[in-house]
Subunit: 149 residues, 4 copies
């Protein structure tokens, strides 16, 4: 994830995760796919902080987020019992998508960074659908929101 892609500034939204046995592999480190779980937990908590739990999004609005694209760079391994902070910034938003910049840190040490494009879809038709205006308005009030102009 090159620096030039990122215009996200300001305070990120941060969510802390603990590394359990379930997250590790026989290489003694966190399995690479499991960072995507950690990153999603942070996005989910950010949405929840905006008042939009995903089951509500589905039941009330018939909407669902799906990841359309991810780019992830692994820099340092995480290990059992580590306490990891997942930072989230919104880099861009559109009518039907949000681009997040996320990183996994152990203290000041960056373990992995990711750029994630999540698309809002109609849960039945599985086609792009506009995010509710209430939701995008709520985003603006959260830490981590700083899309490029």
């Amino acid at each position: 994830m090159s620096k030039t892609h990122s215009a996200a500034t300001g305070q990120p939204f941060t969510w802390t995760v603990r590394v359990y046995y379930e997250d590790t592999d026989t290489g003694g480190i966190v399995y690479y796919a499991n960072y995507l779980k950690f990153f999603e937990r942070a996005r989910t908590e950010w949405l929840r902080a905006a008042g939009f739990e995903q089951h509500r999004l589905r039941e009330e609005f018939g909407l669902q987020f799906v990841v359309a694209h991810i780019e992830c760079s692994y820099q340092q391994p995480a290990r059992l019992d580590d306490l990891i902070e997942i930072d989230l910034r919104v880099a861009r938003t559109g009518r039907v998508f949000i681009v997040f910049e996320q990183s996994a840190r152990r203290g000041a040490e960056v373990l992995a960074t990711a750029r994630v494009k999540a698309a809002c879809i109609d849960a039945r038709r599985f086609a792009p659908a506009a995010m509710p205006a209430d939701m995008t308005a709520a985003f603006r009030t959260l830490p981590g929101f700083s899309p490029t102009p």
Copy 2:
């Protein structure tokens, strides 16, 4: 899983699984919850051999299997790259449930054994529902089927 519980005899249904990084943990062995994935793959393949893929079960009949109870005994660890055979026998069937006896073997060496009670439910109401007669009839033709009289 005590021997006295088991009246299952005859040839089991067998499904082979490979151990990948995703299945292991930092202890160098297959993570204990992942055996439940292996056991379910074998039950799914046994159902498929009977002509009942689970998405069809859901769409055509509005039915779904859920595990109501499992007892699992871990005897020897499995490791990365192991090729594991999952044996399945039907120990009992009722109108709304099946009890499976399963084991995980590496060659002749038993790694784990399980007794699993799967209940057939109405997928919407989440309440017990009778298995289709076609399905229980199909079961009788499969290896692994030998319920107590």
Copy 3:
């Protein structure tokens, strides 16, 4: 898990987990194997509260816990966004094992119960090994500890 098996009394140790997309399956509920992850997180946190992080256990003492046996009963489904409390009690301890009684609750509603026998092993030889005296002493000071006399 029958009541007659349980002599555990007193205040349990409780650990809260959130249900994310990663935990659910296409049946709309938490996948059955994932309760074993939840149960282990609670055991890990109970050990941590006793001062024994598992990576320390491994590096300092050459020890590791493995699950030897689990019995789990699934009663009600958990769903996306649920906040679940995992209760833990110690039902029995031996020189080389601990038996836990655990349950998963959503408020007052019990979703699943489990009885888990965890064995202490030498991490290299993969053979039973006595738990350090310091550790078993620390156990006695924690909520959830109430083994049968």
Copy 4:
């Protein structure tokens, strides 16, 4: 994954995976992180076809592969019971890394594509290490090998 990045041609190496309950989420589709498991299974089988099982790589050579970077594009959802073919091509190799281009197909329909940079490391020091000459020589004989000149 832009077309301009790809110089991989010729017959890919292909590995087939089945979608089980464990792979899906409550959205009714395969959970996004689980494609990374599928992609890794194909890489592991490609390595195995070259005669290099990963536990052997570790025990004999003290080496391990870790993913340094992944870019993944999700195009169509996969669902329960789907049979998915994972194609693998080697786009580039270096002394200490391999870049794979992978895709997940259901028949002719592409579900996801990925570009994965895997680094060879010394398993103890966790530092880059050259791949054994035997291994890179074996790669050349496999389907899927067609690095840019």
